[in-house]
Protein backbone atom coordinates (compact mmCIF):
# COMPACT_ATOMS: atom_id res chain seq x y z
CA UNK A 1 0.00 0.00 0.00
CA UNK A 2 1.25 3.42 -0.92
CA UNK A 3 2.16 5.73 1.95
CA UNK A 4 -0.17 8.59 2.88
CA UNK A 5 1.93 11.78 2.93
CA UNK A 6 -0.37 13.23 5.59
CA UNK A 7 0.98 10.68 8.05
CA UNK A 8 4.60 11.84 7.74
CA UNK A 9 6.41 14.86 9.04
CA UNK A 10 9.49 16.27 7.33
CA UNK A 11 11.30 19.15 8.96
CA UNK A 12 14.16 21.13 7.43
CA UNK A 13 16.36 22.59 10.16
CA UNK A 14 18.78 23.99 7.56
CA UNK A 15 21.90 23.89 9.71
CA UNK A 16 23.83 21.25 11.58
CA UNK A 17 23.32 22.51 15.14
CA UNK A 18 19.54 22.71 14.70
CA UNK A 19 19.46 19.21 13.24
CA UNK A 20 21.51 17.82 16.13
CA UNK A 21 19.26 19.55 18.69
CA UNK A 22 16.20 17.93 17.16
CA UNK A 23 17.90 14.54 17.26
CA UNK A 24 19.03 15.09 20.85
CA UNK A 25 15.49 15.92 21.97
CA UNK A 26 13.80 12.73 20.76
CA UNK A 27 16.53 10.57 19.24
CA UNK A 28 14.42 7.57 18.37
CA UNK A 29 11.79 9.72 16.62
CA UNK A 30 13.78 11.01 13.70
CA UNK A 31 15.07 9.49 10.52
CA UNK A 32 17.53 11.66 8.59
CA UNK A 33 16.90 11.97 4.85
CA UNK A 34 19.52 13.36 2.47
CA UNK A 35 19.15 12.58 -1.26
CA UNK A 36 16.27 10.19 -0.59
CA UNK A 37 17.39 7.46 -2.98
CA UNK A 38 16.92 4.80 -0.30
CA UNK A 39 14.43 6.38 2.11
CA UNK A 40 11.94 7.41 -0.59
CA UNK A 41 11.88 3.93 -2.07
CA UNK A 42 10.77 2.50 1.28
CA UNK A 43 8.37 5.39 1.80
CA UNK A 44 6.69 4.99 -1.59
CA UNK A 45 6.25 1.28 -0.98
CA UNK A 46 4.50 2.04 2.30
CA UNK A 47 7.33 0.35 4.22
CA UNK A 48 8.83 3.32 6.05
CA UNK A 49 7.92 2.80 9.69
CA UNK A 50 9.53 6.04 10.86
CA UNK A 51 6.99 8.88 10.57
CA UNK A 52 9.27 11.78 11.44
CA UNK A 53 11.94 12.75 8.97
CA UNK A 54 14.63 15.34 9.23
CA UNK A 55 15.93 16.89 6.04
CA UNK A 56 19.75 16.96 6.01
CA UNK A 57 20.11 17.47 2.25
CA UNK A 58 20.58 21.23 2.51
CA UNK A 59 22.98 21.34 5.45
CA UNK A 60 26.17 23.03 4.19
CA UNK A 61 28.44 21.45 6.83
CA UNK A 62 27.66 18.02 5.40
CA UNK A 63 28.41 18.92 1.78
CA UNK A 64 32.06 19.99 1.97
CA UNK A 65 35.13 18.17 0.70
CA UNK A 66 38.29 19.33 2.48
CA UNK A 67 41.77 18.35 1.43
CA UNK A 68 44.79 18.58 3.71
CA UNK A 69 48.33 17.37 3.10
CA UNK A 70 47.67 13.93 4.59
CA UNK A 71 43.93 13.31 4.27
CA UNK A 72 40.76 14.09 2.37
CA UNK A 73 37.60 14.65 4.37
CA UNK A 74 34.34 14.09 2.52
CA UNK A 75 31.13 15.54 3.97
CA UNK A 76 28.61 12.77 4.52
CA UNK A 77 26.00 14.35 2.24
CA UNK A 78 28.36 14.68 -0.73
CA UNK A 79 26.81 13.04 -3.76
CA UNK A 80 28.33 10.45 -6.05
CA UNK A 81 28.39 13.13 -8.73
CA UNK A 82 30.45 15.37 -6.42
CA UNK A 83 32.86 12.49 -5.75
CA UNK A 84 33.25 11.72 -9.46
CA UNK A 85 33.92 15.36 -10.24
CA UNK A 86 36.49 15.87 -7.48
CA UNK A 87 40.04 15.96 -8.80
CA UNK A 88 41.76 14.42 -5.75
CA UNK A 89 39.15 11.67 -5.41
CA UNK A 90 39.55 10.75 -9.08
CA UNK A 91 43.34 10.86 -8.99
CA UNK A 92 44.19 9.32 -5.61
CA UNK A 93 41.11 7.24 -4.78
CA UNK A 94 40.12 5.68 -8.10
CA UNK A 95 38.34 2.79 -6.37
CA UNK A 96 35.93 5.26 -4.79
CA UNK A 97 35.46 7.27 -7.99
CA UNK A 98 34.78 4.06 -9.91
CA UNK A 99 32.31 2.82 -7.29
CA UNK A 100 30.55 6.20 -7.49
CA UNK A 101 30.19 5.74 -11.25
CA UNK A 102 28.63 2.30 -10.70
CA UNK A 103 26.05 3.52 -8.25
CA UNK A 104 22.72 3.87 -10.06
CA UNK A 105 22.25 6.06 -13.10
CA UNK A 106 23.17 9.75 -13.34
CA UNK A 107 19.93 10.90 -11.67
CA UNK A 108 20.63 8.75 -8.62
CA UNK A 109 24.28 9.80 -8.56
CA UNK A 110 23.05 13.41 -8.43
CA UNK A 111 21.13 12.64 -5.22
CA UNK A 112 22.67 9.59 -3.56
CA UNK A 113 25.25 10.41 -0.89
CA UNK A 114 28.29 8.60 0.47
CA UNK A 115 27.10 9.03 4.06
CA UNK A 116 23.69 7.68 3.09
CA UNK A 117 25.29 4.63 1.54
CA UNK A 118 27.21 4.04 4.78
CA UNK A 119 24.29 4.65 7.15
CA UNK A 120 21.87 2.60 5.05
CA UNK A 121 24.40 -0.21 5.44
CA UNK A 122 23.30 -2.34 2.54
CA UNK A 123 25.83 -5.14 2.08
CA UNK A 124 25.44 -4.56 -1.67
CA UNK A 125 26.51 -0.90 -1.55
CA UNK A 126 29.24 -0.45 -4.13
CA UNK A 127 31.25 2.25 -2.36
CA UNK A 128 31.77 0.39 0.90
CA UNK A 129 34.58 -2.06 -0.09
CA UNK A 130 36.59 0.93 -1.36
CA UNK A 131 36.23 2.62 2.04
CA UNK A 132 37.54 -0.52 3.72
CA UNK A 133 40.71 -0.77 1.65
CA UNK A 134 41.39 2.97 1.92
CA UNK A 135 41.26 2.77 5.75
CA UNK A 136 38.39 5.26 5.98
CA UNK A 137 37.60 6.88 9.29
CA UNK A 138 34.19 8.34 10.11
CA UNK A 139 33.43 11.34 12.27
CA UNK A 140 30.11 10.89 14.05
CA UNK A 141 28.51 13.96 15.58
CA UNK A 142 25.72 14.58 18.05
CA UNK A 143 24.76 17.28 20.52
CA UNK A 144 27.01 15.35 22.94
CA UNK A 145 30.07 15.90 20.79
CA UNK A 146 32.13 14.24 18.08
CA UNK A 147 33.80 10.86 17.94
CA UNK A 148 35.96 9.13 15.36
CA UNK A 149 35.29 5.55 14.38
CA UNK A 150 37.40 3.44 12.03
CA UNK A 151 35.09 2.49 9.17
CA UNK A 152 36.04 -1.18 9.56
CA UNK A 153 34.33 -1.11 12.99
CA UNK A 154 31.20 0.69 11.84
CA UNK A 155 29.00 -2.20 10.68
CA UNK A 156 28.24 -4.70 13.41
CA UNK A 157 25.87 -7.09 11.59
CA UNK A 158 23.34 -7.00 8.76
CA UNK A 159 22.07 -3.39 8.55
CA UNK A 160 23.32 -2.76 12.10
CA UNK A 161 25.88 -0.06 12.84
CA UNK A 162 27.47 1.71 15.80
CA UNK A 163 25.67 4.96 14.88
CA UNK A 164 23.62 6.09 17.89
CA UNK A 165 20.05 7.31 17.41
CA UNK A 166 21.05 10.91 18.10
CA UNK A 167 24.11 10.86 15.84
CA UNK A 168 24.79 11.84 12.24
CA UNK A 169 27.78 10.91 10.13
CA UNK A 170 29.61 14.21 9.71
CA UNK A 171 32.38 13.18 7.34
CA UNK A 172 34.41 10.36 5.91
CA UNK A 173 38.15 10.81 6.07
CA UNK A 174 40.63 8.94 3.85
CA UNK A 175 44.42 9.06 4.39
CA UNK A 176 46.28 10.22 1.27
CA UNK A 177 48.80 7.41 1.17
CA UNK A 178 47.47 5.04 -1.48
CA UNK A 179 48.12 6.93 -4.70
CA UNK A 180 51.17 4.78 -5.52
CA UNK A 181 49.20 1.54 -5.31
CA UNK A 182 47.96 -0.49 -8.23
CA UNK A 183 44.18 -0.53 -7.93
CA UNK A 184 41.47 -2.75 -9.29
CA UNK A 185 37.70 -2.35 -9.03
CA UNK A 186 35.28 -4.87 -10.43
CA UNK A 187 31.54 -5.28 -10.11
CA UNK A 188 29.58 -8.27 -11.31
CA UNK A 189 25.85 -7.76 -11.68
CA UNK A 190 22.99 -8.72 -13.98
CA UNK A 191 23.85 -5.88 -16.37
CA UNK A 192 26.52 -3.21 -16.43
CA UNK A 193 24.35 -0.18 -15.87
CA UNK A 194 22.41 0.45 -12.72
CA UNK A 195 22.22 -3.16 -11.52
CA UNK A 196 22.76 -4.07 -7.89
CA UNK A 197 25.94 -6.13 -7.47
CA UNK A 198 26.12 -9.86 -6.97
CA UNK A 199 29.80 -9.50 -6.10
CA UNK A 200 32.08 -6.48 -6.11
CA UNK A 201 35.78 -6.19 -5.33
CA UNK A 202 37.99 -3.27 -4.35
CA UNK A 203 41.68 -4.10 -4.39
CA UNK A 204 44.96 -2.26 -3.85
CA UNK A 205 48.45 -3.67 -4.11
CA UNK A 206 52.12 -2.92 -4.27
CA UNK A 207 54.60 -5.19 -5.97
CA UNK A 208 58.33 -4.94 -6.47
CA UNK A 209 60.67 -7.32 -8.29
CA UNK A 210 57.78 -9.72 -8.71
CA UNK A 211 57.03 -9.95 -4.98
CA UNK A 212 53.79 -8.66 -3.44
CA UNK A 213 54.75 -6.03 -0.84
CA UNK A 214 51.26 -5.26 0.29
CA UNK A 215 47.76 -6.16 -0.79
CA UNK A 216 44.41 -4.84 0.44
CA UNK A 217 41.21 -6.60 -0.61
CA UNK A 218 37.55 -6.01 0.21
CA UNK A 219 34.35 -7.42 -1.23
CA UNK A 220 30.75 -6.29 -1.20
CA UNK A 221 27.41 -8.07 -1.72
CA UNK A 222 28.90 -11.29 -0.43
CA UNK A 223 28.25 -11.30 3.29
CA UNK A 224 25.89 -9.43 5.67
CA UNK A 225 28.49 -6.63 5.90
CA UNK A 226 31.20 -5.42 3.49
CA UNK A 227 34.20 -7.65 4.12
CA UNK A 228 37.95 -7.13 4.21
CA UNK A 229 39.75 -10.32 3.12
CA UNK A 230 42.35 -10.43 5.90
CA UNK A 231 43.27 -14.10 5.53
CA UNK A 232 43.75 -13.83 1.79
CA UNK A 233 45.87 -10.71 2.26
CA UNK A 234 48.07 -12.55 4.78
CA UNK A 235 48.53 -15.46 2.39
CA UNK A 236 49.56 -13.18 -0.48
CA UNK A 237 51.88 -10.74 1.29
CA UNK A 238 55.56 -11.32 0.56
CA UNK A 239 54.87 -13.94 -2.11
CA UNK A 240 55.65 -14.10 -5.81
CA UNK A 241 52.60 -14.30 -8.07
CA UNK A 242 52.61 -17.81 -9.54
CA UNK A 243 49.78 -20.11 -10.62
CA UNK A 244 49.97 -22.11 -7.38
CA UNK A 245 49.60 -18.94 -5.32
CA UNK A 246 46.60 -17.81 -7.36
CA UNK A 247 44.98 -21.22 -6.80
CA UNK A 248 45.65 -21.03 -3.06
CA UNK A 249 44.20 -17.51 -2.98
CA UNK A 250 40.97 -18.74 -4.59
CA UNK A 251 40.64 -21.38 -1.88
CA UNK A 252 41.23 -18.95 0.98
CA UNK A 253 38.83 -16.41 -0.53
CA UNK A 254 36.03 -18.95 -0.70
CA UNK A 255 36.73 -20.01 2.89
CA UNK A 256 36.78 -16.56 4.41
CA UNK A 257 33.87 -14.85 2.65
CA UNK A 258 30.96 -16.84 4.15
CA UNK A 259 28.80 -16.03 1.11
CA UNK A 260 25.03 -15.55 1.23
CA UNK A 261 22.15 -16.86 -0.89
CA UNK A 262 19.70 -14.11 -1.77
CA UNK A 263 17.42 -12.85 -4.54
CA UNK A 264 20.34 -11.76 -6.67
CA UNK A 265 22.59 -14.80 -6.56
CA UNK A 266 23.66 -17.99 -4.78
CA UNK A 267 26.42 -18.53 -2.26
CA UNK A 268 28.20 -20.93 -4.59
CA UNK A 269 28.19 -18.48 -7.49
CA UNK A 270 29.47 -15.70 -5.24
CA UNK A 271 32.22 -17.89 -3.91
CA UNK A 272 33.52 -18.81 -7.38
CA UNK A 273 33.22 -15.28 -8.73
CA UNK A 274 34.92 -13.69 -5.73
CA UNK A 275 37.86 -16.07 -6.29
CA UNK A 276 37.90 -15.16 -9.98
CA UNK A 277 37.95 -11.44 -9.22
CA UNK A 278 40.89 -11.83 -6.82
CA UNK A 279 42.71 -13.96 -9.43
CA UNK A 280 42.04 -11.27 -12.04
CA UNK A 281 43.51 -8.64 -9.73
CA UNK A 282 46.62 -10.77 -9.13
CA UNK A 283 47.13 -11.05 -12.90
CA UNK A 284 46.87 -7.30 -13.21
CA UNK A 285 49.27 -6.81 -10.32
CA UNK A 286 51.77 -9.23 -11.88
CA UNK A 287 51.52 -7.54 -15.29
CA UNK A 288 51.80 -3.97 -14.03
CA UNK A 289 54.45 -4.85 -11.48
CA UNK A 290 56.60 -6.83 -13.93
CA UNK A 291 59.09 -4.04 -14.44
CA UNK A 292 58.78 -2.40 -11.06
Amino acid sequence: MRADPAEYRLVSPGNLQAALSLLAGEPAQWLPIAGGTDVMVLYSAGKLSNRNLINIWNIPELRQIEVSSDAISIGAACTYTALRQHEIVSREFPLLATAASWTGGIANQNRGTLGGNIANASPAADSLPALLVYDAELTLISARGERRVAYRNFHTSYKQTVLAADELILDISLPRRFSGYISHARKVGARNAQAISKVCLAALGQISHGTIREVRLAVGSIAPVPLRLNETERLLTGKRIEPALVGAARTIVSMEIRPIDDIRSTARYRSVVAGNLVAEFLEKLAAEGADA
Binding site: P5, L10, L53, N58, G105, A107, R111
Partner: protein
Protein backbone atom coordinates in the same frame (compact mmCIF):
# COMPACT_ATOMS: atom_id res chain seq x y z
CA UNK B 1 4.56 2.67 21.67
CA UNK B 2 4.61 5.84 19.66
CA UNK B 3 1.80 8.29 20.32
CA UNK B 4 -1.22 8.24 17.97
CA UNK B 5 -0.36 9.95 14.72
CA UNK B 6 -1.46 13.48 14.32
CA UNK B 7 -1.99 14.35 10.69
CA UNK B 8 0.91 16.48 9.55
CA UNK B 9 0.11 20.00 8.48
CA UNK B 10 0.50 21.04 4.88
CA UNK B 11 3.24 23.53 4.20
CA UNK B 12 3.71 26.14 1.56
CA UNK B 13 6.33 25.27 -1.02
CA UNK B 14 7.63 27.93 -3.40
CA UNK B 15 9.68 27.14 -6.46
CA UNK B 16 10.28 28.14 -10.02
CA UNK B 17 8.73 25.68 -12.44
CA UNK B 18 9.61 26.08 -16.10
CA UNK B 19 10.59 29.67 -15.44
CA UNK B 20 7.43 30.64 -13.55
CA UNK B 21 7.23 31.24 -9.80
CA UNK B 22 4.76 28.78 -8.26
CA UNK B 23 3.41 28.22 -4.77
CA UNK B 24 1.68 25.06 -3.68
CA UNK B 25 0.24 23.90 -0.40
CA UNK B 26 1.36 20.32 0.14
CA UNK B 27 2.36 17.78 2.72
CA UNK B 28 6.16 17.96 2.93
CA UNK B 29 6.61 14.28 2.06
CA UNK B 30 4.44 14.44 -1.05
CA UNK B 31 6.53 13.38 -3.98
CA UNK B 32 7.60 16.15 -6.33
CA UNK B 33 6.28 13.94 -9.16
CA UNK B 34 2.75 13.97 -7.72
CA UNK B 35 2.79 17.70 -7.07
CA UNK B 36 3.93 18.40 -10.64
CA UNK B 37 1.29 16.13 -12.12
CA UNK B 38 -1.69 16.66 -9.81
CA UNK B 39 -1.29 20.20 -8.49
CA UNK B 40 0.40 21.84 -11.45
CA UNK B 41 -1.08 19.75 -14.26
CA UNK B 42 2.36 18.96 -15.73
CA UNK B 43 1.87 15.37 -16.83
CA UNK B 44 4.99 15.08 -18.98
CA UNK B 45 6.89 13.39 -16.14
CA UNK B 46 5.48 9.87 -15.84
CA UNK B 47 5.41 7.37 -13.04
CA UNK B 48 7.01 4.14 -14.14
CA UNK B 49 8.55 2.18 -11.30
CA UNK B 50 8.14 4.70 -8.47
CA UNK B 51 11.48 3.67 -7.01
CA UNK B 52 14.14 5.52 -8.96
CA UNK B 53 15.03 2.71 -11.35
CA UNK B 54 13.33 3.71 -14.61
CA UNK B 55 13.81 7.44 -15.11
CA UNK B 56 10.38 8.13 -16.61
CA UNK B 57 9.78 10.77 -13.92
CA UNK B 58 13.06 12.61 -14.69
CA UNK B 59 13.11 16.38 -14.26
CA UNK B 60 15.90 18.93 -13.87
CA UNK B 61 16.19 20.28 -10.33
CA UNK B 62 18.54 23.26 -10.19
CA UNK B 63 20.01 21.95 -13.42
CA UNK B 64 20.58 18.43 -12.08
CA UNK B 65 18.84 15.41 -13.55
CA UNK B 66 16.77 13.75 -10.79
CA UNK B 67 14.00 11.22 -10.40
CA UNK B 68 11.06 13.29 -9.18
CA UNK B 69 9.46 10.21 -7.59
CA UNK B 70 12.31 10.24 -5.01
CA UNK B 71 12.11 13.93 -4.07
CA UNK B 72 9.91 14.97 -1.14
CA UNK B 73 8.39 18.23 -2.30
CA UNK B 74 9.72 20.08 0.76
CA UNK B 75 13.25 19.40 -0.51
CA UNK B 76 12.34 21.26 -3.71
CA UNK B 77 11.41 24.43 -1.82
CA UNK B 78 13.28 27.35 -3.37
CA UNK B 79 14.55 25.27 -6.29
CA UNK B 80 14.23 25.81 -10.00
CA UNK B 81 12.58 22.89 -11.76
CA UNK B 82 12.41 22.18 -15.45
CA UNK B 83 10.04 19.53 -16.79
CA UNK B 84 9.69 18.41 -20.39
CA UNK B 85 6.93 21.03 -20.80
CA UNK B 86 9.49 23.74 -20.10
CA UNK B 87 11.95 22.56 -22.74
CA UNK B 88 10.24 23.88 -25.87
CA UNK B 89 12.44 26.96 -26.12
CA UNK B 90 15.69 25.10 -25.37
CA UNK B 91 18.12 25.10 -28.29
CA UNK B 92 18.59 21.33 -28.01
CA UNK B 93 14.90 20.62 -28.29
CA UNK B 94 14.46 20.92 -32.03
CA UNK B 95 17.46 18.73 -32.95
CA UNK B 96 16.48 16.15 -30.33
CA UNK B 97 12.85 16.00 -31.40
CA UNK B 98 13.77 15.68 -35.05
CA UNK B 99 16.41 13.04 -34.37
CA UNK B 100 14.09 10.98 -32.16
CA UNK B 101 11.49 11.08 -34.97
CA UNK B 102 13.92 10.23 -37.73
CA UNK B 103 15.67 7.43 -35.85
CA UNK B 104 12.55 5.85 -34.35
CA UNK B 105 13.69 6.81 -30.84
CA UNK B 106 10.14 7.04 -29.51
CA UNK B 107 7.41 4.41 -29.67
CA UNK B 108 4.90 4.30 -26.81
CA UNK B 109 6.28 7.56 -25.44
CA UNK B 110 6.29 6.80 -21.73
CA UNK B 111 10.07 7.00 -21.39
CA UNK B 112 10.52 9.79 -23.94
CA UNK B 113 10.24 12.87 -21.70
CA UNK B 114 12.82 11.36 -19.33
CA UNK B 115 15.06 10.28 -22.21
CA UNK B 116 15.00 13.79 -23.66
CA UNK B 117 15.80 15.41 -20.32
CA UNK B 118 18.62 12.92 -19.66
CA UNK B 119 19.95 13.65 -23.15
CA UNK B 120 19.79 17.41 -22.55
CA UNK B 121 21.58 16.99 -19.20
CA UNK B 122 24.29 14.99 -20.97
CA UNK B 123 24.68 17.26 -24.01
CA UNK B 124 24.93 20.37 -21.87
CA UNK B 125 27.98 18.82 -20.19
CA UNK B 126 29.34 16.95 -23.20
CA UNK B 127 28.30 18.54 -26.49
CA UNK B 128 30.04 15.82 -28.51
CA UNK B 129 29.50 12.61 -26.58
CA UNK B 130 30.97 9.24 -27.51
CA UNK B 131 28.57 6.30 -27.61
CA UNK B 132 29.80 5.20 -24.16
CA UNK B 133 28.96 8.65 -22.77
CA UNK B 134 25.44 8.41 -24.18
CA UNK B 135 24.98 4.90 -22.80
CA UNK B 136 26.11 6.09 -19.38
CA UNK B 137 24.08 9.30 -19.51
CA UNK B 138 20.88 7.41 -20.32
CA UNK B 139 21.57 4.32 -18.19
CA UNK B 140 19.01 5.39 -15.60
CA UNK B 141 16.23 5.64 -18.20
CA UNK B 142 14.55 2.42 -19.22
CA UNK B 143 12.74 1.90 -22.53
CA UNK B 144 10.76 -1.28 -23.16
CA UNK B 145 9.98 -0.53 -26.82
CA UNK B 146 12.96 0.58 -28.84
CA UNK B 147 15.81 -1.60 -27.67
CA UNK B 148 17.83 1.60 -27.07
CA UNK B 149 19.90 1.60 -30.27
CA UNK B 150 17.54 4.06 -31.98
CA UNK B 151 17.67 6.33 -28.94
CA UNK B 152 21.48 6.30 -28.80
CA UNK B 153 21.56 7.06 -32.51
CA UNK B 154 19.06 9.89 -32.07
CA UNK B 155 21.19 11.52 -29.37
CA UNK B 156 24.32 11.16 -31.50
CA UNK B 157 22.51 12.72 -34.44
CA UNK B 158 21.10 15.59 -32.37
CA UNK B 159 24.57 16.37 -31.03
CA UNK B 160 25.98 16.50 -34.58
CA UNK B 161 23.04 18.57 -35.76
CA UNK B 162 23.61 21.15 -33.10
CA UNK B 163 27.37 21.21 -33.67
CA UNK B 164 26.72 21.89 -37.37
CA UNK B 165 24.46 24.86 -36.63
Amino acid sequence: MSPPLEKAAKCEVSFIVNGEAKKVLAHPMERLLDVLRNDLGLTGAKEGCGEGECGSCSVLLDGMLVNSCLIPVAQANGASIVTIEGMSAHDLMKPLQEAFLECGGAQCGICTPGMILAAVHLLEKKPEPALADIQEGLAGNLCRCTGYMQIFEAVTRAARQRAAQ
